[in-house]
Subunit: 112 residues, 2 copies
Amino acid sequence: MEKNIEISLLYDFYGQLLKEQQRQAVTLYYNDDLSLSEIADQLGITRQGVRDSIKRSESALYNFEDKLGLYKRFREVEAGLYEIETLAEKLKSDYDIKTVEKIISTAKSLHE
Amino acid sequence: MEKNIEISLLYDFYGQLLKEQQRQAVTLYYNDDLSLSEIADQLGITRQGVRDSIKRSESALYNFEDKLGLYKRFREVEAGLYEIETLAEKLKSDYDIKTVEKIISTAKSLHE
């Protein structure tokens, strides 16, 4: 199993939809960086049980994002907000109507 | 059963996580405004089956939002983006450093 930064990010987003034991296993594995055996000891299940739980959690997290795409959407909005901030910072020292227009079009592009 | 605008909004957000038959029942009931009996005929299940399916779907949609809160979060971001647009429109005719600062603080408040 390869530890994957994407799983941590999707977990922050959709983790509450996982079962309690899945959440524990994913947190101990991805956040606390414990080994499968250490997690097995801590949760009182087999090492294979831990592995299965993490695998199922990963599939579920990818499935939530495939179906809803909300993580991708949030990332786009975040990027747009940073762009708006940068543009507005520029306006502070250097007023320019084109920069104002760009702020407006960026904000518009981020909502429905 | 009372038809509820909130359910339609949550359905647009989380509907893809429902089962296929639940999606059909919710869509026919909330979007197409069919009666339970009409939906029962169309799906080939009992009227009580339709009612149960819709009730379960409603619970599931509320549960997704209780756990994830993403719909609320999106609504807040949308409101903030409209505010940014309004502020920037104001800047076009009336440049004012305070308005620029407000755009920056609004954008900052909307992301982590």
